[in-house]
Symmetry: C2
Subunit: 381 residues, 2 copies
C-alpha cells in the first residue's frame, strides 16, 4: 500500500463538532463525511489506500449522544501534518468547507503539545499585568470615539482617560485611516497625550491604536505605532484574517500586547447549530492566534449573549492547553458603571472591563468619571 | 454646530439589510440603532450634533415591508469617508459589530462611482476568456487532489488534465505547504507539467496554485508562483482576509487572474435571518475585492444551496456596478459529468464548471475523462 512521501509524526489535533443527525449511525456517517471533506475532499472509494486513507483522512474518534436526541457530539482527529504548521491551513482543516454545511458546529479543539508550543499569546494575563504594574485587580479599558472627531479631539479624550487612571485607552474599532483623523496624526497625538498624563499621574496607562488596515500596510502601521509610543495594538481578526493577528503577535520588533475585537465574526455564533461556539470563537481562537485580550459583548448590554455563553468564553481564555498563557476576557458592548458589581461576580478579577459610551454618562468630566470607575473597581475587587 | 475637520464629499454608499421586527416603528428603530452601531458606536443623545450626527452616523433611507410581516428591508447610507478608502474598514462599516446582533442580515450594497472605480477584478470574464483564448463556451476547471499526494503525483495529474483540455487546473484548496508536497516543489512541478502539455496540445490551460498562506508569506508565494509559470491564483478570502485578496489583485508584478474559494465563510449564510446573503457573499464581495471567478457549492451536490440561491450568486457576479467587470461564477461541490445539461440550463455559458472527484469517476484515464468533459461542454454550449 502506498505511503505518503515523508514520515508522519503520528501527532494529531482533535476537533469536537456538534451535529444534527437522527440517530447514531447517521451521526457517525456525517462525521465520516466531515473527516473526508476537511482533508482529501475526495470520494472514499477513490481515495488511495494506505497512509492517505488511514492517516491523512480525519479519524472519527468518538460519537457522543447529547440531551437533545437529534444532536451529537463527534470528535475527529487530524494529522498534525495536514495543517502544515500554518494558522490558515489549520483553520481550513478545522472548518473550511464544513462551514458551508448545515447543522455542524465547531465546539472546541485541542492541540498536541508540539503544535500548541508554536502558538499563543506573547504576554498573556501575567505579561499584561506586569506592563501595567497592576498585579491583581480587574483592568480598565475604554475607547476613543466617536468616529468623526479629529486627531486633536481624540487626543483630548485620551488625556482625560489617562488622568482618570484608565489602564488601556484604545481607539474605537471604527477608527481606521479616515480623512478626519488620519492614522499617523491620530496615533502621534494620542500616544503623546497618554505619555504626558502618565508623567503627571504616575500611572502606567497604555494607548492602543486600532490597526486593522489594508494587508500591505498593516505591519507598517503597527511599527509606526510602536515607534510613536503606542503601548498595545487593537486588531479585528475578522477583518484582517486570524493569521495576520498571529503575525503581529510573533513580530519581535513590535513586542506589544494585542487585543482582538470581534467585528464581522458575529455571524459564526448566529445559529446554535452552525458556525463556531462562543467558547472557541471568542476565547480559544483569539488566544491561540496571538491575542492577549479578547473583546466580546457581555450579557445584559446591547447584544444578546447569555451569561452562560459569556462564562464559556472566559473558559476558552484559560482552558489548559499545554503551557499556553491565559488571556484576558474583555466584556464590553453596553457596559455601565452600575453593572460593575454583577459583572465582577461572574468575571472575577482576571478581566478587562471595557466601557465606552457608558463612561461618558455620569458627567461631562471624563477624567472624573474615569477616576470614579477606577475607584469603584479598586474598592470592590 | 461643530463640523468635522475636513470637508465631506457628500458621496455615500448604501447597504440593504433585512431585519426582524414586529412592526414598522420597531424596524425603523432597529435601523437607526444599526446606523449608530456601525459608525459612531455611541449613544444618540451623547453624539455631537452637526456633521457627526447628521453625516457620519448612517442615514436610514428606506424601511420596506416584505411578504413576511415580521421581516423588513432597510436601506442605510454611510458617508464614503467613514470607510476611509479601505476594504477592511468598508466591511467594518457594512457589518462589523452588527454581525453580532441577532436577526439582521446584509442583503446587498452599492457604491458611488468614485468608490466602485477603485475596486473590482483585474481581468473579469473577458480578460480570463482572452487568456484562455476561449471566447464563448463555459470554462472547465478541476482540482489537484487528494491531500497526501507528493508534488510529483500531483504534477502527473496536472499533466493528464492539461492533455485532456481542462482550462483551469487548480490546487485543491486543502493543499498548502504540507511536508508531503511543499509549496515550492509542488508549484514548480505542476506549472511545468501544464506548460509541457500545452506545448503538445496547443491548448492554453493555466495552472492555479492555492496560495492562502501565513500573512507574512503570501505575497512571496504568489510572486514565486508567477515566476515559475503559474497562470492564475487560488485564494480563500475567509482564511487570509478579504483585503489580502484585494492586495494580490492590485499587484502589478503579479498581474494574474484570481479565483476565490469559500472556505470558512459558509457560516455567514447558515441562517436566513443573519449573516450575509448568498448574492453578496459569494457573488458581489469576491468581485468587489479582486476575484475574477468565485467558487461556490452548486445546488444538487454535497452542499445544500438551493437553485434560487445559486442563481442569486450569479446575479452578484454581474450586477451593474459602475463599470466594474463581471466575474465568473464557478459552481462546484459535487458536480458530475451527468449534471452538465441541467447546470448549463441555469448557469448559461458564462460559467466555470468546477469538477473535482467527479472527473475521476468515469475511468482511470484522467486525460480521457477530461477530454470527454470538454467535448460534452463544447457540444452542448
Amino acid at each position: 500500500m502506498p505511503s505518503v512521501s515523508v514520515p508522519l509524526s503520528g501527532q494529531r489535533f482533535r476537533v469536537e463538532y456538534s451535529l444534527i443527525a437522527e440517530d447514531e449511525p447517521a451521526a457517525r456517517q456525517r462525521a465520516v463525511e466531515i473527516a473526508f471533506e476537511q482533508t482529501v475532499e475526495f470520494p472514499a472509494d477513490l481515495t488511495p489506500k494506505g497512509d492517505i486513507l488511514e492517516k491523512i483522512v480525519g479519524q472519527v474518534q468518538e460519537v457522543i449522544p447529547t440531551e437533545n436526541a437529534e444532536k451529537w457530539r463527534v470528535i475527529i482527529s487530524y494529522a498534525a501534518e495536514s495543517a502544515g504548521d500554518e494558522t490558515t491551513q489549520f483553520i481550513n482543516v478545522v472548518f473550511g468547507n464544513t462551514s458551508i454545511q448545515k447543522g455542524v458546529r465547531v465546539e472546541s479543539f485541542s492541540l498536541p503539545p508540539a503544535m500548541a508550543a508554536k502558538r499563543g499569546p506573547r504576554f498573556g494575563r501575567s505579561g499584561l499585568r506586569q506592563l501595567l504594574q497592576t498585579p491583581s485587580r480587574p483592568l480598565l479599558c475604554t475607547a476613543l470615539k466617536p468616529m468623526g472627531y479629529s486627531a486633536r479631539e481624540l487626543a483630548r479624550l485620551a488625556k482625560d482617560f489617562a488622568h482618570g487612571g484608565i489602564d488601556l485607552i484604545k481607539d474605537d474599532h471604527g477608527l481606521a485611516n479616515q480623512p478626519f483623523a488620519v492614522f499617523k496624526e491620530r496615533v502621534q497625538a494620542c500616544a503623546e497625550a497618554v505619555h504626558e498624563a502618565n508623567a503627571v499621574t504616575g500611572y502606567h496607562s497604555l494607548y492602543m491604536p486600532h490597526i486593522s488596515a489594508p494587508a500591505d500596510e498593516i505591519l507598517e502601521r503597527a511599527l509606526f505605532a510602536k515607534e510613536l509610543g503606542a503601548g498595545a495594538l487593537l486588531v479585528c481578526p475578522g477583518l484582517i484574517g486570524w493569521d495576520t493577528m498571529r503575525m503581529l503577535a510573533d513580530d519581535d520588533r513590535l513586542n506589544l500586547p494585542i487585543m482582538s475585537h470581534p467585528a464581522l465574526i458575529g455571524s459564526f455564533t448566529a445559529s446554535p447549530d452552525s458556525g463556531i461556539s462562543h467558547y472557541a470563537l471568542y476565547g480559544l481562537m483569539p488566544r491561540l492566534f496571538g491575542a492577549d485580550a479578547a473583546v466580546f459583548p457581555s450579557w445584559g448590554g446591547r447584544f444578546s449573549f447569555s451569561k452562560e455563553e459569556c462564562a464559556s468564553i472566559v473558559e476558552g481564555t484559560e482552558a489548559p492547553l499545554s503551557e499556553m498563557k491565559f488571556i484576558f476576557p474583555s466584556p464590553g458592548g453596553g457596559m455601565t458603571l452600575e453593572r460593575i458589581p454583577e459583572m465582577l461576580a461572574i468575571y472575577g478579577r482576571d478581566v478587562i472591563f471595557l466601557m465606552g459610551g457608558g463612561l461618558h454618562r455620569r458627567s461631562p468630566d471624563l477624567a472624573a468619571n474615569s477616576a470614579y470607575f477606577r475607584e469603584l473597581v479598586e474598592k470592590m475587587a
